[in-house]
Protein backbone atom coordinates (compact mmCIF):
# COMPACT_ATOMS: atom_id res chain seq x y z
CA UNK A 1 0.00 0.00 0.00
CA UNK A 2 1.54 3.28 -1.13
CA UNK A 3 1.36 6.65 0.55
CA UNK A 4 -0.67 7.89 -2.39
CA UNK A 5 -2.99 5.48 -4.19
CA UNK A 6 -4.64 6.63 -7.41
CA UNK A 7 -7.21 4.18 -8.78
CA UNK A 8 -9.10 4.33 -12.07
CA UNK A 9 -9.09 8.11 -12.54
CA UNK A 10 -10.96 9.43 -15.58
CA UNK A 11 -11.25 13.06 -16.59
CA UNK A 12 -12.79 14.46 -19.77
CA UNK A 13 -12.66 18.06 -20.98
CA UNK A 14 -15.46 18.17 -23.52
CA UNK A 15 -14.42 15.69 -26.20
CA UNK A 16 -10.89 15.28 -24.93
CA UNK A 17 -10.09 12.36 -22.67
CA UNK A 18 -7.40 14.01 -20.57
CA UNK A 19 -7.00 11.11 -18.17
CA UNK A 20 -8.15 7.56 -18.93
CA UNK A 21 -8.12 4.93 -16.22
CA UNK A 22 -5.00 6.17 -14.45
CA UNK A 23 -3.63 3.93 -11.72
CA UNK A 24 -0.65 5.11 -9.76
CA UNK A 25 0.91 4.16 -6.48
CA UNK A 26 3.55 6.30 -4.83
CA UNK A 27 5.41 4.42 -2.12
CA UNK A 28 6.54 6.12 1.03
CA UNK A 29 10.11 7.40 1.07
CA UNK A 30 10.72 7.33 -2.68
CA UNK A 31 11.15 9.92 -5.39
CA UNK A 32 8.62 9.14 -8.05
CA UNK A 33 8.81 10.90 -11.40
CA UNK A 34 5.89 11.21 -13.79
CA UNK A 35 7.04 11.87 -17.32
CA UNK A 36 5.43 11.94 -20.70
CA UNK A 37 5.22 13.94 -23.92
CA UNK A 38 3.28 17.18 -24.14
CA UNK A 39 -0.43 16.72 -23.59
CA UNK A 40 0.03 13.40 -21.83
CA UNK A 41 -2.09 14.58 -18.90
CA UNK A 42 0.69 15.17 -16.36
CA UNK A 43 -0.57 18.53 -15.19
CA UNK A 44 -4.18 17.35 -15.14
CA UNK A 45 -3.15 14.48 -12.91
CA UNK A 46 -1.30 16.84 -10.59
CA UNK A 47 -4.29 19.15 -10.38
CA UNK A 48 -6.47 16.20 -9.40
CA UNK A 49 -4.04 15.28 -6.64
CA UNK A 50 -4.11 18.76 -5.06
CA UNK A 51 -7.86 19.23 -5.25
CA UNK A 52 -7.91 21.82 -8.02
CA UNK A 53 -9.75 19.46 -10.40
CA UNK A 54 -12.35 16.85 -9.54
CA UNK A 55 -12.13 13.70 -11.72
CA UNK A 56 -15.18 12.18 -13.37
CA UNK A 57 -14.54 8.84 -11.73
CA UNK A 58 -11.95 6.99 -9.70
CA UNK A 59 -10.44 7.42 -6.28
CA UNK A 60 -7.40 9.11 -4.79
CA UNK A 61 -6.38 7.92 -1.34
CA UNK A 62 -3.64 9.65 0.60
CA UNK A 63 -2.44 8.09 3.81
CA UNK A 64 -5.66 6.10 4.07
CA UNK A 65 -8.00 9.07 3.46
CA UNK A 66 -9.73 10.16 0.29
CA UNK A 67 -8.64 13.54 -1.05
CA UNK A 68 -11.40 13.88 -3.64
CA UNK A 69 -13.82 16.74 -3.07
CA UNK A 70 -11.56 18.46 -0.59
CA UNK A 71 -10.39 22.05 -1.03
CA UNK A 72 -6.68 22.66 -1.76
CA UNK A 73 -6.06 24.02 1.74
CA UNK A 74 -7.58 20.91 3.33
CA UNK A 75 -5.40 18.64 1.20
CA UNK A 76 -2.37 20.67 2.18
CA UNK A 77 -3.27 20.29 5.84
CA UNK A 78 -3.37 16.50 5.27
CA UNK A 79 0.31 16.68 4.35
CA UNK A 80 0.64 17.34 0.61
CA UNK A 81 2.67 20.41 -0.39
CA UNK A 82 3.11 21.64 -3.91
CA UNK A 83 5.88 23.48 -5.73
CA UNK A 84 4.72 25.26 -8.88
CA UNK A 85 6.19 25.57 -12.34
CA UNK A 86 6.63 29.30 -11.78
CA UNK A 87 7.32 29.84 -8.09
CA UNK A 88 4.19 30.91 -6.22
CA UNK A 89 5.35 33.05 -3.31
CA UNK A 90 4.01 36.08 -1.46
CA UNK A 91 5.81 38.66 -3.58
CA UNK A 92 4.76 41.71 -1.55
CA UNK A 93 6.01 40.24 1.71
CA UNK A 94 9.52 39.87 3.02
CA UNK A 95 11.39 36.57 2.70
CA UNK A 96 11.06 36.05 6.44
CA UNK A 97 7.30 36.65 6.41
CA UNK A 98 7.02 34.22 3.51
CA UNK A 99 8.38 31.39 5.61
CA UNK A 100 6.57 32.47 8.78
CA UNK A 101 3.18 32.02 7.13
CA UNK A 102 3.48 28.24 6.56
CA UNK A 103 4.79 27.95 10.14
CA UNK A 104 1.56 29.54 11.36
CA UNK A 105 -0.50 27.38 9.03
CA UNK A 106 1.15 24.27 10.43
CA UNK A 107 0.66 25.29 14.05
CA UNK A 108 -2.77 26.95 13.92
CA UNK A 109 -4.56 25.19 11.07
CA UNK A 110 -6.51 26.72 8.21
CA UNK A 111 -7.82 29.70 10.20
CA UNK A 112 -7.16 31.30 13.54
CA UNK A 113 -8.20 34.73 14.71
CA UNK A 114 -4.86 35.79 16.18
CA UNK A 115 -5.47 39.48 15.62
CA UNK A 116 -4.17 41.02 18.82
CA UNK A 117 -0.99 39.00 19.43
CA UNK A 118 2.14 40.57 17.99
CA UNK A 119 4.25 38.80 15.38
CA UNK A 120 7.33 39.91 17.29
CA UNK A 121 6.19 37.91 20.32
CA UNK A 122 6.02 34.63 18.38
CA UNK A 123 9.52 33.42 19.27
CA UNK A 124 8.88 29.76 18.42
CA UNK A 125 7.66 30.57 14.94
CA UNK A 126 10.55 32.96 14.36
CA UNK A 127 13.11 30.32 15.32
CA UNK A 128 11.47 27.80 13.01
CA UNK A 129 11.49 30.30 10.14
CA UNK A 130 15.12 31.23 10.76
CA UNK A 131 16.15 27.59 10.86
CA UNK A 132 14.58 26.79 7.49
CA UNK A 133 16.07 29.89 5.87
CA UNK A 134 19.44 28.80 7.19
CA UNK A 135 18.86 25.35 5.68
CA UNK A 136 18.36 26.78 2.19
CA UNK A 137 21.15 29.35 2.66
CA UNK A 138 18.87 32.39 2.50
CA UNK A 139 19.19 33.71 6.02
CA UNK A 140 21.04 36.84 4.95
CA UNK A 141 18.17 37.68 2.57
CA UNK A 142 15.48 37.47 5.25
CA UNK A 143 14.44 41.13 5.10
CA UNK A 144 14.39 41.39 1.32
CA UNK A 145 11.10 41.74 -0.49
CA UNK A 146 10.31 38.36 -2.05
CA UNK A 147 9.58 39.96 -5.43
CA UNK A 148 13.16 41.27 -5.63
CA UNK A 149 14.71 37.79 -5.44
CA UNK A 150 16.31 36.07 -8.43
CA UNK A 151 14.36 33.25 -10.02
CA UNK A 152 16.57 30.63 -8.47
CA UNK A 153 16.11 32.18 -5.03
CA UNK A 154 12.36 32.36 -5.52
CA UNK A 155 12.41 28.63 -6.18
CA UNK A 156 14.49 28.04 -3.05
CA UNK A 157 12.10 30.19 -1.03
CA UNK A 158 9.08 28.30 -2.30
CA UNK A 159 10.82 25.05 -1.46
CA UNK A 160 11.58 26.34 2.03
CA UNK A 161 7.93 27.33 2.48
CA UNK A 162 6.88 23.79 1.62
CA UNK A 163 9.57 22.11 3.70
CA UNK A 164 8.89 24.06 6.86
CA UNK A 165 5.46 22.43 6.92
CA UNK A 166 7.17 19.05 7.06
CA UNK A 167 4.92 17.51 4.40
CA UNK A 168 4.42 13.78 3.94
CA UNK A 169 4.40 14.23 0.18
CA UNK A 170 6.01 16.98 -1.86
CA UNK A 171 4.65 17.50 -5.38
CA UNK A 172 6.95 19.27 -7.81
CA UNK A 173 5.58 20.60 -11.07
CA UNK A 174 8.51 20.99 -13.47
CA UNK A 175 10.80 22.47 -10.81
CA UNK A 176 13.51 23.35 -13.35
CA UNK A 177 11.35 24.62 -16.21
CA UNK A 178 12.92 27.63 -17.91
CA UNK A 179 15.99 27.56 -15.70
CA UNK A 180 19.57 28.15 -16.78
CA UNK A 181 21.87 25.12 -16.65
CA UNK A 182 23.57 26.26 -13.44
CA UNK A 183 20.24 26.89 -11.72
CA UNK A 184 19.03 23.47 -12.82
CA UNK A 185 22.08 21.81 -11.29
CA UNK A 186 21.55 23.76 -8.07
CA UNK A 187 17.94 22.68 -7.91
CA UNK A 188 18.87 19.04 -8.45
CA UNK A 189 21.42 19.31 -5.65
CA UNK A 190 18.85 20.98 -3.38
CA UNK A 191 16.24 18.30 -4.05
CA UNK A 192 18.77 15.51 -3.48
CA UNK A 193 19.76 17.06 -0.20
CA UNK A 194 16.12 17.38 0.90
CA UNK A 195 15.50 13.80 -0.05
CA UNK A 196 18.49 12.52 1.92
CA UNK A 197 18.20 14.79 4.95
CA UNK A 198 14.48 14.76 5.49
CA UNK A 199 13.32 11.57 3.86
CA UNK A 200 10.30 13.31 2.28
CA UNK A 201 8.39 11.39 -0.35
CA UNK A 202 8.46 13.33 -3.60
CA UNK A 203 6.49 13.20 -6.82
CA UNK A 204 8.09 15.10 -9.70
CA UNK A 205 6.58 16.05 -13.00
CA UNK A 206 9.38 16.95 -15.32
CA UNK A 207 10.30 17.40 -18.93
CA UNK A 208 14.06 17.48 -18.49
CA UNK A 209 15.28 13.86 -18.69
CA UNK A 210 18.57 14.85 -17.09
CA UNK A 211 16.68 15.97 -13.97
CA UNK A 212 14.43 12.93 -13.98
CA UNK A 213 17.23 10.39 -14.21
CA UNK A 214 19.38 12.07 -11.58
CA UNK A 215 16.55 12.18 -9.02
CA UNK A 216 13.89 9.55 -9.61
CA UNK A 217 13.81 6.17 -7.95
CA UNK A 218 10.68 5.13 -9.84
CA UNK A 219 9.26 6.50 -13.05
CA UNK A 220 5.77 6.40 -14.50
CA UNK A 221 5.43 7.22 -18.18
CA UNK A 222 2.13 8.82 -19.20
CA UNK A 223 0.98 9.02 -22.80
CA UNK A 224 -2.40 10.25 -24.00
CA UNK A 225 -3.83 10.22 -20.51
CA UNK A 226 -2.87 6.65 -19.65
CA UNK A 227 0.14 5.20 -17.86
CA UNK A 228 2.29 3.22 -20.31
CA UNK A 229 4.83 1.72 -17.96
CA UNK A 230 6.03 2.10 -14.41
CA UNK A 231 9.48 0.91 -13.46
CA UNK A 232 12.91 1.84 -12.11
CA UNK A 233 14.87 4.37 -14.21
CA UNK A 234 17.29 1.85 -15.72
CA UNK A 235 14.45 -0.17 -17.20
CA UNK A 236 12.65 2.93 -18.48
CA UNK A 237 15.62 4.22 -20.48
CA UNK A 238 15.58 1.47 -23.08
CA UNK A 239 11.90 0.59 -22.97
CA UNK A 240 10.49 0.27 -26.52
CA UNK A 241 7.05 1.67 -25.57
CA UNK A 242 8.64 4.76 -24.07
CA UNK A 243 10.74 5.30 -27.19
CA UNK A 244 7.60 5.08 -29.22
CA UNK A 245 5.75 7.63 -27.10
CA UNK A 246 8.64 10.07 -27.24
CA UNK A 247 9.51 9.51 -30.90
CA UNK A 248 10.58 12.80 -32.36
CA UNK A 249 10.43 14.54 -29.00
CA UNK A 250 13.62 13.61 -27.20
CA UNK A 251 16.19 10.88 -27.12
CA UNK A 252 15.59 8.74 -24.05
Amino acid sequence: MGLLEVKGINKRFGGLQALGDVNLSIKENTTHAIIGPNGAGKSTLLNVLVGKLIPDSGSVMFDGQSVLGRAPHEINQMGISRVFQTPEIFSDLSVFENVMIPCFAKRDGAFRMHAIESIFAEKGIQQQAEAILDDVNMLEKRDMLASSLSRGDKRRLEMAMCLVQDPKLLLLDEPTAGMARADTQNTIALLKEIREKRGITMAIIEHDMNVVFSLAERITVLAQGTPLVEDIPDNIKGHPKVREAYLGEAQV
Binding site: P72, S81, F90, D92, L93, E97, A115
Partner: protein
Protein backbone atom coordinates in the same frame (compact mmCIF):
# COMPACT_ATOMS: atom_id res chain seq x y z
CA UNK B 1 4.86 49.77 25.28
CA UNK B 2 1.20 48.60 25.28
CA UNK B 3 2.35 45.62 23.23
CA UNK B 4 3.67 47.87 20.45
CA UNK B 5 7.10 48.21 18.90
CA UNK B 6 8.85 51.49 19.66
CA UNK B 7 8.12 53.07 16.27
CA UNK B 8 4.43 52.21 16.38
CA UNK B 9 4.17 53.49 19.92
CA UNK B 10 5.70 56.80 18.85
CA UNK B 11 3.18 57.02 16.03
CA UNK B 12 0.36 56.38 18.49
CA UNK B 13 1.69 59.13 20.77
CA UNK B 14 1.82 61.55 17.83
CA UNK B 15 -1.78 60.76 16.93
CA UNK B 16 -2.88 61.18 20.55
CA UNK B 17 -1.06 64.51 20.71
CA UNK B 18 -2.55 65.76 17.46
CA UNK B 19 -6.11 64.85 18.46
CA UNK B 20 -5.81 66.29 21.97
CA UNK B 21 -4.40 69.60 20.77
CA UNK B 22 -6.47 69.77 17.59
CA UNK B 23 -8.48 72.77 18.86
CA UNK B 24 -5.20 74.76 18.93
CA UNK B 25 -3.56 73.25 15.85
CA UNK B 26 -6.58 73.75 13.64
CA UNK B 27 -7.10 77.36 14.70
CA UNK B 28 -3.78 79.01 13.82
CA UNK B 29 -5.30 82.27 12.60
CA UNK B 30 -6.72 84.94 14.90
CA UNK B 31 -10.45 85.44 15.00
CA UNK B 32 -11.67 88.17 12.65
CA UNK B 33 -8.54 88.15 10.45
CA UNK B 34 -8.72 87.55 6.71
CA UNK B 35 -7.29 84.07 7.12
CA UNK B 36 -9.79 83.05 9.82
CA UNK B 37 -11.85 81.32 7.18
CA UNK B 38 -9.08 78.72 6.89
CA UNK B 39 -9.49 77.83 10.54
CA UNK B 40 -10.89 74.36 10.98
CA UNK B 41 -11.02 74.31 14.75
CA UNK B 42 -14.75 74.48 15.18
CA UNK B 43 -16.60 71.55 16.83
CA UNK B 44 -18.66 70.44 13.86
CA UNK B 45 -15.67 70.04 11.54
CA UNK B 46 -13.34 68.60 14.18
CA UNK B 47 -15.94 65.95 14.98
CA UNK B 48 -16.13 65.08 11.31
CA UNK B 49 -12.34 64.76 11.09
CA UNK B 50 -12.16 62.10 13.76
CA UNK B 51 -15.40 60.29 12.85
CA UNK B 52 -14.41 59.93 9.22
CA UNK B 53 -10.94 59.07 10.48
CA UNK B 54 -12.46 56.06 12.26
CA UNK B 55 -14.42 55.14 9.14
CA UNK B 56 -11.28 55.27 6.98
CA UNK B 57 -9.09 53.40 9.52
CA UNK B 58 -11.62 50.57 9.46
CA UNK B 59 -11.92 50.59 5.69
CA UNK B 60 -8.14 50.38 5.43
CA UNK B 61 -8.12 47.13 7.43
CA UNK B 62 -10.13 45.56 4.64
CA UNK B 63 -8.86 47.38 1.57
CA UNK B 64 -5.33 48.20 2.64
CA UNK B 65 -4.50 44.74 3.93
CA UNK B 66 -6.54 42.26 1.86
CA UNK B 67 -6.92 44.39 -1.27
CA UNK B 68 -10.67 43.68 -1.38
CA UNK B 69 -12.22 46.97 -2.53
CA UNK B 70 -15.65 47.35 -0.96
CA UNK B 71 -17.90 49.93 -2.54
CA UNK B 72 -20.62 49.53 0.02
CA UNK B 73 -19.17 50.46 3.35
CA UNK B 74 -21.51 53.40 3.79
CA UNK B 75 -24.31 50.88 4.35
CA UNK B 76 -22.68 49.90 7.65
CA UNK B 77 -22.20 53.50 8.63
CA UNK B 78 -25.88 54.16 7.93
CA UNK B 79 -26.98 51.04 9.79
CA UNK B 80 -24.93 52.16 12.78
CA UNK B 81 -26.56 55.59 12.70
CA UNK B 82 -30.06 54.16 12.61
CA UNK B 83 -29.23 51.80 15.48
CA UNK B 84 -27.92 54.67 17.59
CA UNK B 85 -30.92 56.91 16.94
CA UNK B 86 -33.26 54.05 17.88
CA UNK B 87 -31.40 53.70 21.15
CA UNK B 88 -31.98 57.42 21.77
CA UNK B 89 -35.66 56.94 21.01
CA UNK B 90 -36.23 53.80 23.06
CA UNK B 91 -33.66 53.72 25.84
CA UNK B 92 -32.18 57.03 26.87
CA UNK B 93 -30.09 59.89 25.57
CA UNK B 94 -26.88 58.37 26.94
CA UNK B 95 -24.47 57.90 24.05
CA UNK B 96 -22.73 54.74 25.31
CA UNK B 97 -25.57 52.24 24.67
CA UNK B 98 -26.21 53.97 21.35
CA UNK B 99 -22.57 53.59 20.26
CA UNK B 100 -22.46 49.99 21.49
CA UNK B 101 -25.57 49.01 19.55
CA UNK B 102 -24.35 50.75 16.41
CA UNK B 103 -21.18 48.64 16.43
CA UNK B 104 -23.16 45.44 17.03
CA UNK B 105 -25.73 46.15 14.31
CA UNK B 106 -23.07 47.09 11.77
CA UNK B 107 -21.12 43.97 12.69
CA UNK B 108 -24.11 41.68 12.10
CA UNK B 109 -25.05 43.50 8.91
CA UNK B 110 -21.52 43.25 7.54
CA UNK B 111 -21.38 39.55 8.45
CA UNK B 112 -24.42 38.98 6.26
CA UNK B 113 -23.24 41.09 3.31
CA UNK B 114 -19.65 39.91 3.62
CA UNK B 115 -20.66 36.26 3.68
CA UNK B 116 -22.38 36.63 0.31
CA UNK B 117 -20.03 39.15 -1.35
CA UNK B 118 -16.81 37.36 -0.44
CA UNK B 119 -17.75 34.42 -2.62
CA UNK B 120 -16.25 36.52 -5.39
CA UNK B 121 -13.12 38.60 -5.55
CA UNK B 122 -11.83 41.53 -7.56
CA UNK B 123 -14.29 43.65 -9.48
CA UNK B 124 -17.14 41.20 -8.85
CA UNK B 125 -16.73 41.62 -5.13
CA UNK B 126 -16.81 45.41 -5.51
CA UNK B 127 -19.97 45.24 -7.61
CA UNK B 128 -21.67 42.92 -5.12
CA UNK B 129 -20.94 45.24 -2.20
CA UNK B 130 -22.06 48.22 -4.24
CA UNK B 131 -25.31 46.44 -5.12
CA UNK B 132 -25.96 45.54 -1.49
CA UNK B 133 -25.31 49.08 -0.33
CA UNK B 134 -27.61 50.56 -2.97
CA UNK B 135 -30.25 48.02 -2.01
CA UNK B 136 -29.92 49.07 1.62
CA UNK B 137 -30.21 52.69 0.58
CA UNK B 138 -33.34 52.01 -1.46
CA UNK B 139 -34.88 50.00 1.37
CA UNK B 140 -34.12 52.69 3.93
CA UNK B 141 -35.46 55.36 1.62
CA UNK B 142 -38.80 53.73 0.89
CA UNK B 143 -39.88 50.27 2.02
CA UNK B 144 -38.48 50.42 5.53
CA UNK B 145 -39.90 53.88 6.28
CA UNK B 146 -41.39 52.77 9.65
CA UNK B 147 -37.88 51.89 10.84
CA UNK B 148 -35.78 54.44 8.99
CA UNK B 149 -38.06 57.42 8.64
CA UNK B 150 -37.81 57.23 4.85
CA UNK B 151 -37.15 60.49 3.02
CA UNK B 152 -37.20 62.72 6.07
CA UNK B 153 -34.80 60.50 7.97
CA UNK B 154 -35.06 59.16 11.47
CA UNK B 155 -35.57 61.91 14.03
CA UNK B 156 -36.26 62.14 17.70
CA UNK B 157 -39.74 63.10 18.87
CA UNK B 158 -41.31 64.23 22.15
CA UNK B 159 -43.50 61.14 22.11
CA UNK B 160 -40.54 58.71 22.16
CA UNK B 161 -40.64 56.31 25.12
CA UNK B 162 -37.00 56.65 26.35
CA UNK B 163 -37.67 54.17 29.16
CA UNK B 164 -34.46 54.90 31.09
CA UNK B 165 -34.48 58.66 30.58
CA UNK B 166 -36.77 61.64 30.34
CA UNK B 167 -38.96 61.76 27.24
CA UNK B 168 -38.63 65.55 27.35
CA UNK B 169 -36.73 68.16 29.28
CA UNK B 170 -38.25 70.35 31.97
CA UNK B 171 -38.84 73.05 29.39
CA UNK B 172 -40.69 70.64 27.10
CA UNK B 173 -37.91 70.19 24.56
CA UNK B 174 -36.40 67.02 23.12
CA UNK B 175 -33.35 66.14 25.23
CA UNK B 176 -29.91 66.09 23.59
CA UNK B 177 -27.39 63.20 23.51
CA UNK B 178 -25.11 63.21 26.52
CA UNK B 179 -22.53 61.10 28.31
CA UNK B 180 -23.89 60.77 31.86
CA UNK B 181 -25.14 64.34 31.84
CA UNK B 182 -22.29 65.84 29.78
CA UNK B 183 -24.02 67.13 26.68
CA UNK B 184 -22.23 66.33 23.42
CA UNK B 185 -22.82 69.79 22.04
CA UNK B 186 -21.46 71.57 25.11
CA UNK B 187 -18.21 73.42 24.53
CA UNK B 188 -15.70 75.31 26.56
CA UNK B 189 -14.43 78.41 24.82
CA UNK B 190 -11.09 79.96 25.61
CA UNK B 191 -10.10 83.43 24.46
CA UNK B 192 -6.37 84.04 24.16
CA UNK B 193 -5.79 87.50 22.79
CA UNK B 194 -7.28 87.52 19.31
CA UNK B 195 -7.59 83.73 19.23
CA UNK B 196 -10.62 81.71 20.19
CA UNK B 197 -10.21 78.03 20.97
CA UNK B 198 -13.22 75.75 21.34
CA UNK B 199 -13.08 72.53 23.34
CA UNK B 200 -16.13 70.46 22.54
CA UNK B 201 -17.31 67.47 24.59
CA UNK B 202 -18.54 65.57 21.54
CA UNK B 203 -15.22 66.06 19.77
CA UNK B 204 -13.24 64.66 22.67
CA UNK B 205 -15.54 61.66 22.98
CA UNK B 206 -15.14 60.92 19.26
CA UNK B 207 -11.39 61.55 19.50
CA UNK B 208 -11.16 59.08 22.37
CA UNK B 209 -12.84 56.43 20.22
CA UNK B 210 -10.58 57.27 17.29
CA UNK B 211 -7.46 56.77 19.38
CA UNK B 212 -8.80 53.39 20.56
CA UNK B 213 -9.67 52.51 16.96
CA UNK B 214 -6.22 53.55 15.78
CA UNK B 215 -4.54 51.52 18.52
CA UNK B 216 -6.53 48.40 17.62
CA UNK B 217 -5.67 48.90 13.96
CA UNK B 218 -1.92 49.01 14.80
CA UNK B 219 -2.29 45.78 16.75
CA UNK B 220 -4.08 44.13 13.84
CA UNK B 221 -1.46 45.34 11.34
CA UNK B 222 1.34 43.82 13.44
CA UNK B 223 -0.45 40.56 14.26
CA UNK B 224 -0.19 37.18 12.52
CA UNK B 225 -3.78 37.82 11.40
CA UNK B 226 -2.70 41.05 9.71
CA UNK B 227 0.15 39.23 8.00
CA UNK B 228 -2.31 36.62 6.69
CA UNK B 229 -4.47 39.42 5.29
CA UNK B 230 -1.46 40.85 3.43
CA UNK B 231 -0.67 37.35 2.20
CA UNK B 232 -4.18 37.14 0.75
CA UNK B 233 -3.58 40.38 -1.14
CA UNK B 234 -0.26 39.08 -2.40
CA UNK B 235 -1.04 35.55 -3.60
CA UNK B 236 -4.22 33.60 -2.93
CA UNK B 237 -2.98 30.51 -4.78
CA UNK B 238 0.00 30.13 -2.49
CA UNK B 239 -2.30 30.90 0.42
CA UNK B 240 -4.52 27.90 -0.22
CA UNK B 241 -1.58 25.61 -1.10
CA UNK B 242 -0.09 26.55 2.26
CA UNK B 243 -3.11 25.09 4.00
CA UNK B 244 -4.80 28.39 4.80
CA UNK B 245 -8.42 29.13 4.15
CA UNK B 246 -8.69 32.69 2.81
CA UNK B 247 -12.48 32.97 3.24
CA UNK B 248 -12.73 33.25 7.05
CA UNK B 249 -9.77 35.64 7.05
CA UNK B 250 -11.35 38.00 4.54
CA UNK B 251 -14.73 37.69 6.26
CA UNK B 252 -13.19 38.58 9.62
CA UNK B 253 -11.49 41.61 8.06
CA UNK B 254 -14.76 42.61 6.41
CA UNK B 255 -16.71 42.39 9.67
CA UNK B 256 -14.04 44.30 11.62
CA UNK B 257 -14.09 47.11 9.08
CA UNK B 258 -17.89 47.03 9.10
CA UNK B 259 -17.84 47.48 12.87
CA UNK B 260 -15.51 50.45 12.51
CA UNK B 261 -18.00 51.95 10.06
CA UNK B 262 -20.80 51.27 12.54
CA UNK B 263 -18.84 53.01 15.29
CA UNK B 264 -18.41 56.03 13.02
CA UNK B 265 -22.15 55.99 12.28
CA UNK B 266 -23.03 55.73 15.96
CA UNK B 267 -20.76 58.65 16.81
CA UNK B 268 -22.26 60.69 13.99
CA UNK B 269 -25.72 60.12 15.43
CA UNK B 270 -24.42 60.95 18.92
CA UNK B 271 -23.19 64.34 17.75
CA UNK B 272 -26.42 65.11 15.95
CA UNK B 273 -29.26 62.69 16.73
CA UNK B 274 -30.70 62.06 13.32
CA UNK B 275 -30.03 59.53 10.60
CA UNK B 276 -30.92 59.70 6.93
CA UNK B 277 -30.81 57.23 4.09
CA UNK B 278 -28.33 59.39 2.14
CA UNK B 279 -25.62 58.24 4.56
CA UNK B 280 -25.84 54.85 2.83
CA UNK B 281 -25.60 56.17 -0.70
CA UNK B 282 -22.79 55.11 -3.02
CA UNK B 283 -21.23 58.57 -2.96
CA UNK B 284 -20.63 58.10 0.76
CA UNK B 285 -19.05 54.71 0.07
CA UNK B 286 -16.90 56.24 -2.64
CA UNK B 287 -15.75 58.99 -0.30
CA UNK B 288 -14.10 56.57 2.13
CA UNK B 289 -12.34 54.87 -0.79
CA UNK B 290 -10.96 58.27 -1.83
CA UNK B 291 -9.88 59.06 1.72
CA UNK B 292 -7.99 55.80 2.07
CA UNK B 293 -6.25 55.99 -1.30
CA UNK B 294 -5.47 59.70 -0.95
CA UNK B 295 -3.88 59.15 2.44
CA UNK B 296 -2.17 55.90 1.51
CA UNK B 297 -3.89 52.51 1.50
CA UNK B 298 -2.19 49.89 3.61
CA UNK B 299 -0.39 52.43 5.78
CA UNK B 300 -1.34 53.05 9.40
CA UNK B 301 -1.71 56.83 9.45
CA UNK B 302 -2.70 57.35 5.79
CA UNK B 303 -6.47 56.93 6.10
CA UNK B 304 -6.62 59.45 8.95
CA UNK B 305 -4.70 61.98 6.88
CA UNK B 306 -6.89 61.32 3.85
CA UNK B 307 -10.07 61.73 5.87
CA UNK B 308 -8.80 64.99 7.35
CA UNK B 309 -7.72 66.34 3.98
CA UNK B 310 -11.01 65.61 2.23
CA UNK B 311 -13.15 66.93 5.06
CA UNK B 312 -11.03 70.07 5.27
CA UNK B 313 -11.41 70.74 1.55
CA UNK B 314 -15.11 69.99 1.64
CA UNK B 315 -15.72 72.48 4.42
CA UNK B 316 -13.17 75.20 3.77
CA UNK B 317 -12.94 75.37 -0.03
CA UNK B 318 -16.68 75.15 -0.39
CA UNK B 319 -17.06 78.25 1.78
CA UNK B 320 -14.90 80.50 -0.39
CA UNK B 321 -17.18 82.49 -2.68
CA UNK B 322 -16.78 85.07 -5.41
CA UNK B 323 -16.84 88.03 -3.04
CA UNK B 324 -13.96 86.60 -1.03
CA UNK B 325 -11.99 86.00 -4.24
CA UNK B 326 -12.53 89.59 -5.31
CA UNK B 327 -11.32 90.67 -1.90
CA UNK B 328 -8.09 88.68 -2.34
CA UNK B 329 -7.30 89.98 -5.81
CA UNK B 330 -8.44 93.55 -5.22
CA UNK B 331 -4.83 94.73 -5.63
CA UNK B 332 -4.88 93.75 -9.32
CA UNK B 333 -6.10 96.13 -12.05
CA UNK B 334 -9.85 95.80 -12.58
CA UNK B 335 -9.81 93.83 -15.83
CA UNK B 336 -7.08 91.45 -14.71
CA UNK B 337 -8.83 90.94 -11.38
CA UNK B 338 -11.96 89.72 -13.12
CA UNK B 339 -9.96 87.35 -15.32
CA UNK B 340 -8.10 85.82 -12.38
CA UNK B 341 -11.30 85.47 -10.37
CA UNK B 342 -13.08 83.89 -13.32
CA UNK B 343 -10.20 81.42 -13.68
CA UNK B 344 -10.16 80.36 -10.04
CA UNK B 345 -13.90 80.48 -9.49
CA UNK B 346 -14.74 77.00 -10.90
CA UNK B 347 -12.43 75.42 -8.33
CA UNK B 348 -13.99 76.88 -5.21
CA UNK B 349 -17.41 77.03 -3.60
CA UNK B 350 -19.62 74.45 -5.19
CA UNK B 351 -16.72 73.53 -7.46
CA UNK B 352 -14.58 72.14 -4.64
CA UNK B 353 -15.14 68.65 -6.02
CA UNK B 354 -13.15 69.75 -9.06
CA UNK B 355 -10.21 70.72 -6.87
CA UNK B 356 -10.51 67.45 -4.99
CA UNK B 357 -10.63 65.52 -8.27
CA UNK B 358 -7.47 67.19 -9.58
CA UNK B 359 -5.73 66.61 -6.29
CA UNK B 360 -6.76 62.96 -6.31
CA UNK B 361 -5.47 62.48 -9.85
CA UNK B 362 -2.15 64.11 -9.00
CA UNK B 363 -1.74 61.92 -5.94
CA UNK B 364 -2.61 58.70 -7.75
CA UNK B 365 -0.28 59.49 -10.67
CA UNK B 366 2.71 60.88 -8.81
CA UNK B 367 2.30 59.35 -5.35
CA UNK B 368 0.65 55.95 -5.68
CA UNK B 369 1.38 55.42 -1.99
CA UNK B 370 -0.71 58.47 -1.09
CA UNK B 371 0.16 61.37 1.18
CA UNK B 372 2.21 59.04 3.38
CA UNK B 373 4.51 58.29 0.45
CA UNK B 374 4.77 62.04 -0.17
CA UNK B 375 5.81 62.53 3.42
CA UNK B 376 8.37 59.74 3.14
CA UNK B 377 9.84 61.27 -0.01
CA UNK B 378 10.20 64.65 1.65
CA UNK B 379 11.68 62.95 4.70
CA UNK B 380 14.20 61.08 2.54
CA UNK B 381 15.13 64.34 0.81
CA UNK B 382 15.89 66.00 4.12
CA UNK B 383 17.84 63.11 5.56
CA UNK B 384 19.94 62.92 2.37
CA UNK B 385 20.68 66.64 2.64
CA UNK B 386 21.59 66.18 6.27
CA UNK B 387 23.88 63.29 5.42
CA UNK B 388 25.58 65.40 2.75
CA UNK B 389 26.03 68.27 5.17
CA UNK B 390 27.49 66.16 7.90
CA UNK B 391 29.74 64.11 5.64
CA UNK B 392 32.50 66.68 5.06
CA UNK B 393 32.55 67.45 8.76
CA UNK B 394 32.96 63.80 9.59
CA UNK B 395 36.04 63.47 7.40
CA UNK B 396 37.72 66.50 8.91
CA UNK B 397 40.51 65.61 11.26
CA UNK B 398 39.77 66.16 14.92
CA UNK B 399 41.65 69.02 16.46
Amino acid sequence: MLGLEKKDFQLLLIVIGLTLFAPFLLNPFPEGSDLAQFNAGYPDLMQRFVIFGIFAIGFNILFGLTGYLSFGHAAFLGAGSYGAVWMFKLLSMNVLPAIAISVVIAGLFSLLIGYVSLRRSGIYFSILTLAFAQMSFALAYSVLTPITGGETGLQLALSDPRIFGAAQTATGNIPVPALFGLEMRSSFEWNVGAWLFTFNAGYYLAAFFMIIAFYISIRIFRSPFGMMLRAIKSNQTRMSYTGLNARPYTLAAFVISGMYAGLAGGLMASMDPLAGAERMQWTASGEVVLMTILGGAGTLIGPVLGAGMIKYFENIFSKINETILHGWFAFLPDGLEDVVVAMIYPFIGKGWHLTLGIMFMLVVIFLPGGLVQGGQKIGALFSRKKAEETKPNATEPAE
